[in-house]
Symmetry: C2
Subunit: 361 residues, 2 copies
């Protein structure tokens, strides 16, 4: 078991990473949950697979447990779902000191986190992520949100959890496609800050995708450490933190234009990263070999690297609503090498024509 | 013109208080609004009475102005109204750097503030309060929220404005009933921290209620200074700040049980303050004369001091959902004298029986 601290002054919190953490949840969370009403927000599938262990452990710590279910899927990460959760929290008498535990993947973490941040002006929030993607990404940084029909995560706040429990054991039940999608975010961390992590994934991708808990623990720890270091220096994304969006501007647009149904988030990010690397090469900021090496690794993991067919007007509209836009420009995150990126404001129109040019070719 | 600073470190902000601030808004806000898209959220009535001055001044500063209207009234301070505002902000292309200006009373400040806090994870927020209540209360402290059918302000966050412009001139069009309701919050500040302010209102109530801008400016400045001093020491209401809720626990319950239609917020607070003072006397924490003096002043201002007839079960349910509840107890704010209160955890059931006993008598 590893314990990593995200250093944010008064809002610092620990991330525990290891096997068998669910059964120790009550013990690890201690005073945060003991003798209180606690809401666990989860999905029917996660509850069926892993609920018993977590719930027993929390009950043993003395909680009065309230399990609230949300249907699976990104399309349920809405203000409407948040409203239904508020109703249930109030009906069950959850108070200011009552923690909300997000038990699931990124959708549950974002939705339950948004609810925790806004219910009674904020109640304690605990993350128990159950996908690789959520363990390496959603669990660090305090971004919580719901989607709007016009785009992803457009309604949200920054709200730090009090603790994160990443149980590597739960990844055993995760489909390989989901493991690969999570690995896309690990690869992202490698490209933006850590060539060593990138090389590690190049060497160990088969073992990681086979679910080896030791290698999984390593990549989770290293990716979380990179993200934590960035977030510590720029909690509210006013500068440096933008680099974490590498692959996400185009990725979000692809997700939105395909109705959040065709691709997993990590798959869309994989395509977005390759698109950004090619754009970087086209602008003369890096050699084409960077994008080729990145595409090779992503393909090896079974991830898509070529954008689907998109209408230029649709892509432009999706990019323009993306909230990483400032003053009419996109902040494009462009690799200079594996391990180093640069942030460049670009016109959305220019990005679209370069992305789709290639596609038409 | 007075400039008061609410000292919250990186989140500090100025409150300007004076006459004729609307026409200087563009100048006072400067870089915050210049050459940007700016959303002004207001009501049809406020826009008709005072919109021209503010809008002209902001346009002269170079803004691209978007005026979004919300119907008047507490019953529109809902998640549904927030959702409609998100739609409009996105449709008009408001970006991360685009400020949202709340131009209206407390309802507009709370609703527009909640939207500003949650739109794209937070955009700059400016308050231009147009009622006495909003100028002395909602504009200081960063509490923003929407109501839930089960109670007031149950969905919200802490989000500080970048600036507050309190134009005393706009109070000329405010009905006397609204002036009196605002004065209730000034009197509250006197009871909790400043016997001198209380005496000042005792002496000057007729002149203040006649709309004398000099006396209005004085009470706004003194009430804001008291609230700012409390909020500076406890931004997120973990201790001291609870004293600002004097009169509000019962006040909120009365508002909710009467459908937010019968009483203005300040009127409900007036009844709640007298109830708290009587409770304090019944518990032996202060002489009965404190409640009598408070009731006399409130009556002099034309404010109600006796609770309406309420069913005990209804009052209990309303108190129990109030989010100032912690671990099954209410934090009751009880005066020890004019100028000094104490916070006491009490069982909601005990509060109800003492409040309604008197009523039955």
């Amino acid at each position: 078991m590893t314990r990593l601290v995200v250093d944010l002054g008064a809002r610092s919190y620990p991330i525990w990473i290891g096997e068998g953490l669910l059964v120790r949840a009550g013990h690890l969370l201690g005073d945060l949950v003991g003798r209180r009403r606690v809401a666990v927000i989860t999905t029917p599938v996660v509850r069926r697979l892993h609920g018993a262990a977590l719930e027993r452990s929390l009950r043993q710590a003395g909680c009065e447990l309230h399990v609230l279910l949300v249907p699976d899927g990104e399309r349920h990460k809405t203000l409407g779902s948040a409203a239904r959760l508020y109703d249930q929290l109030l009906a069950r008498g959850l108070e200011r000191g009552s923690p909300i535990v997000a038990f699931g993947g990124g959708v549950i973490g974002d939705l339950a986190g948004f609810v925790a941040a806004t219910y009674l002006r904020g109640v304690p929030f605990v993350q128990v992520p159950t996908t690789l993607l959520a363990q390496v990404d959603a669990s660090v940084g305090g971004k919580v949100a719901v989607n709007h029909p016009r785009g992803k995560n457009l309604i949200g706040v920054f709200y730090q959890p009090r603790a994160v429990l990443s149980d590597v054991g739960v990844l055993r039940t995760l489909p390989r496609r989901e493991l690969a999608a999570g690995l896309a975010e690990v690869i992202k961390c490698g490209v933006i800050r850590d060539a060593g992590l990138f090389r590690f994934v190049e060497r160990q991708a088969p073992a990681i995708l086979a679910g080896d808990p030791r290698w999984l623990g390593t990549v989770i720890r290293r990716a979380c450490a990179i993200k934590a270091a960035v977030v510590t220096r720029d909690e509210r994304e006013e500068g440096l933190r933008r680099i974490l969006n590498f692959g996400h501007t185009v990725g979000h647009a692809v997700e939105q234009l395909t109705g959040y149904r065709r691709y997993l988030h990590g798959e869309a990010v994989a395509m977005g990263m390759v698109a950004a690397a090619r754009l970087s090469a086209a602008l003369g900021l890096c050699p084409p070999a960077v994008g080729e090496r990145l595409a090779r690794l992503l393909r090896q993991c079974g991830l898509p690297v070529e954008l689907p067919r998109l209408r230029p007007a649709g892509l432009l509209a999706a990019l323009e609503v993306d909230k990483k836009m400032g003053e009419g420009y996109l902040y494009a995150i462009l690799p200079e090498a594996v391990g180093r990126v640069v942030v460049k404001p670009l016109r959305a129109r220019e990005v679209v024509s370069r992305l789709l040019d290639r596609h038409a070719a």
